[in-house]
């Protein structure tokens, strides 16, 4: 089992930025009537999501999230030693978006910056990578962005994905603080054989963009997609999501001797309510300790755990240390679980782009 413990690093601040435009699932043109829409809402728990306007990228949302966070924390851009950008909706095929962000955010030219192209497991993976680099002792302050514009890389005429996914950017400020920090514990998992449960087949090197891959085709009655659009095979994702995340969290609990009774917050990737409730019940954590933000924001992939913390746990996380378990799972198929403590976290209210 791949497990990891990281000491001396704490979450100092968090922020989130969402686009102003809201798409309500009740009135989506993909349903024949409102009762069909309500049925989907009832089983997914997702009522609406925020959606970027044409021309706005995940990095645009991220700049606002990071600037808002730095301002609230009283950090200067030049205080940041490491900047990680978790995102698959990159600005350009090359270079890495993190390089451009160094300039836009006015980070130091010797700042350690990099992209991490993870999906739904990305915040947990990113936390382990950035906190691990910091634990060597010379990076004192770091920013981890988890952002995605899911409405751009999926087809709006794909009825299977339109009601589920939204756009958001989040920023997490990490600080080397041996006095206040408590250990963070991680477990990882991957199933590469399931890579085509969530994937975009065209636009990479295996299947380069062709004229044909840009043509919209009817993939099931009334549902359209291009070769370059993201495919979400709902049934396979569902089968994966009700099996692996509970198993992963149980492994985390067993490996690190976690007393589940002492857990204050179970922070799940906001896939859909049906899936997440199955996971919560398998771990036997009460509903009041399991916050959701998917009803308002939908599935925002790598941003969904930090967006839940910012939008639903702001006051809780500003207070005493809270004992938290987080689990991200999805595209890859990849998943990761994490135990950590968070308290005294500076969190501005959700920022609107």
């Amino acid at each position: 089992m791949s497990q990891l413990t990281i000491n001396n690093v704490r979450i100092a601040g968090m922020s989130a930025c969402v686009p102003a435009t809201v798409e309500d699932n009740r009135t989506l043109p993909i349903y024949k009537d409102e009762s069909e829409a309500l049925k989907v809402i009832a089983s997914t728990g997702i009522e609406r999501h925020h959606k970027v306007d044409d021309g706005v990228t995940a990095s645009d949302l991220s700049v606002k999230a990071v600037e808002g966070l730095l301002q609230q924390m009283g950090w200067e851009p030049q205080d940041v030693d490491c900047f990680a950008y978790v995102c698959t909706s990159r600005d350009y095929i090359a270079p890495q978006t993190a390089c451009i962000m160094q300039d836009r955010l006015k980070l130091r030219s010797d700042c350690c910056v990099f992209d991490l192209p993870f999906g739904c497991s990305g915040w947990v993976y990113g936390m382990s990578i950035v906190a691990s680099l910091m634990s060597h002792g010379t990076f004192k302050r770091a920013i981890l962005v988890a952002a995605e514009t899911n409405t751009r890389n999926r087809n709006p005429r794909d009825t299977a994905v339109r009601p589920l996914f939204g756009d958001a950017a989040t920023a997490t400020a990490l600080e080397l603080d041996p006095e206040l920090a408590r250990p963070m514990n991680f477990m990882y998992g991957v199933d590469g054989a399931g890579f085509d449960a969530v994937w975009a087949p065209y636009g990479g090197m295996r299947n380069p963009v062709t004229y044909e891959s840009l043509e919209e085709k009817e993939v099931s009655p009334g549902s359209f997609r291009r070769g370059v659009d993201m495919i979400v095979n709902g049934m396979d994702v569902f089968g994966f999501a009700i099996k692996q995340p509970p198993r992963s969290i149980k492994e985390l609990i067993a490996t690190f001797n976690i007393d589940v009774e002492t857990v204050d917050l179970l922070l799940l990737h906001q896939a859909n309510k049906f899936i997440d409730e199955k996971i919560r019940k398998a771990i036997k954590i009460p509903a009041e300790k399991t916050p959701y933000c998917l009803e308002e924001y939908g599935n925002v992939t790598s941003a969904s755990i930090p967006l839940t913390m910012v939008s639903r746990c702001r006051e809780q996380l500003a207070g005493d240390m809270k004992h938290c378990i987080a689990c991200g799972f999805g595209v890859g198929l990849a998943w990761a679980s994490m135990e950590f403590y968070a308290g005294g976290v500076t969190i501005p209210e959700v920022i609107t782009y």
Binding site: S43, A160, G234, M235, F238, G239, I242, K243, F274
Partner: protein
């Protein structure tokens, strides 16, 4: 699990379809109420009751409830 119990569990995932319509030979994807959401309920039911995860293709390639039951039995033996 026997086929009869499987059929009962299968039927329980439907709200508006007459229980009498469910037999081993029922072509479940032809039922009016069948939808992608029902498919997810079936996957969850099979996980809960049979401790097996079926894939999207298992459902797509099955015509009758018996076909799907056979897939589940095969997976249980693995």
């Amino acid at each position: 699990m026997e086929i009869q119990e499987f059929i009962e569990n299968f039927a329980a995932q439907f709200d508006d379809t007459d229980e009498a319509l469910f037999t081993a030979d029922t072509k479940f994807k032809e039922l009016d109420e069948w939808s992608s959401l029902t498919a997810l309920s079936i996957i969850a039911m099979v996980d809960d009751e049979c401790d097996v995860i079926i894939k999207g293709n298992d459902i797509l390639n099955s015509d009758t409830i018996q076909d799907l039951f056979n897939v589940v039995v095969k997976k249980q033996k693995k």
